[in-house]
Symmetry: C3
Subunit: 208 residues, 3 copies
Amino acid sequence: MFGRFVPREGKFFEFFHESADLSVEAARQLKQLLTDLPHGESRARAIKDIEHKADQVTHRAIELLHKTFITPLDREDIHELITEMDNIIDFIEAASQRLYLYGVRQSTPELEGLADICLQSVEYVRKAVHGLNDLKNIKEIRKNCVEINRLENEADHILRAGVAKLFRDETDTRQLIKLKEIYELLEVVTDRCEDVANIIEGITIEYS
Amino acid sequence: MFGRFVPREGKFFEFFHESADLSVEAARQLKQLLTDLPHGESRARAIKDIEHKADQVTHRAIELLHKTFITPLDREDIHELITEMDNIIDFIEAASQRLYLYGVRQSTPELEGLADICLQSVEYVRKAVHGLNDLKNIKEIRKNCVEINRLENEADHILRAGVAKLFRDETDTRQLIKLKEIYELLEVVTDRCEDVANIIEGITIEYS
Amino acid sequence: MFGRFVPREGKFFEFFHESADLSVEAARQLKQLLTDLPHGESRARAIKDIEHKADQVTHRAIELLHKTFITPLDREDIHELITEMDNIIDFIEAASQRLYLYGVRQSTPELEGLADICLQSVEYVRKAVHGLNDLKNIKEIRKNCVEINRLENEADHILRAGVAKLFRDETDTRQLIKLKEIYELLEVVTDRCEDVANIIEGITIEYS
């Protein structure tokens, strides 16, 4: 296949950027969703659409990987990175669907705090991923990774304190179970961001 | 050690096939278990036995890896693949044990739908793994991987809608917690199948 | 940078040992915590401090990786190993915090059994990690990995039977949810130990 010999290295970075942009967009929609839970369905559907688009980006990136001879980064790193970035959006979508499907009618400070951190975290992922383009500024990339780790700790703290609060104050056990699961899913978003940060950190180590 | 110099490449594929066959067998038994929950104990024990056999296959594959000089695929890929295939069976077993241990007396459409998807998914894993034997038909292998991804999405959908239904209709909160956990474990079976599909996809990328 | 050319290979092993020592210390503190739950806060804080120290060890190991030219093991293996070892402590800390935050006042045989297994498991991790120093005694290393797998199975068994018991005997549904989560977190500690064992096993395969 001719395409195999044409250098298309830059295309991979475009896919990384597209995926990162979509996760930022999903995290923004999630914050909006929390401000208008009674009309959550359409917002949740919008996030589902974003997640679907991200799947296609991932799919096309992997297709390209199969057709490309010379890749700008290790083949396996590209595969792992695009797959793990996809996971971030999957969990944003998972949390947003549950808000709607479980009929959560009212937001909580914990939901808002976690959604805020998710947005910040994917924004740092986007910055870190952009840094991969030239790998010249490894310090900058790693600074973003440190921030992602910090935000994961913060999310973890909100989750723990928030669930403890539910055990103390939420008298409806079903509501407690619902919110606990959604808090956990939002915290997993920051875990997945940390996984991506670890992969990026690993790439900078190989190329440093 | 003499054995180290004798080519035994094919043996690794036999281990992959054995592990895949065992996961298909476990998924079939799980479907049977759902048709006769009051006598679940013996069926759950049969699945435990299958899981134990799979552990031994994994163990022997890793032993062989230590003794083999030239491997048919990257050493680490073999290690990762056999380990992750083992995880599939672990979660089938985990779900089946809970059905019995938690005294679930009656199946639900969601349990049956998820068990169906688990069986389909491990059947595609088996096909994909068989394709690794010669790596000539990469398109075919990847078609199986696409199906595994599709089934994971389907399982996720059943899980979400099923848990939302439990929150609406299941008045016994303990029963809700039990079924929610088992639905989640069955969905994880399809996640683990997807992990295996990702590894296989990664291998086809390296060798394409 | 001059440091880059000075061989500091041994330093990586020191970091592995430090991290392993900290996880053993954390697991010991967890056992203590269970004997005095009403005063859990200070003990949980001590475990938090250990976790924080482990984070710094991980961070310094990754820094060194960036500055070191010749590494005693594959760069990526070092990165993955130190990161996964850190995860072990994270889950010990997560479980201990919940005991305190959820106001668990009384231990159970399952909590004690699981904490015991966690301690044994991290002790085997420490032994396995020490074996990496010279990789001469691969049989010994792998024996430790086998023990870690065995302990993971044992923890899984306690978890399942323990949760089934909660469903039968614990009349307070919130208490059931709390203990179920903490049992699960302690079982995850042994899963993370198994992940580390798998990485170590992978390293011995590469170097055998």
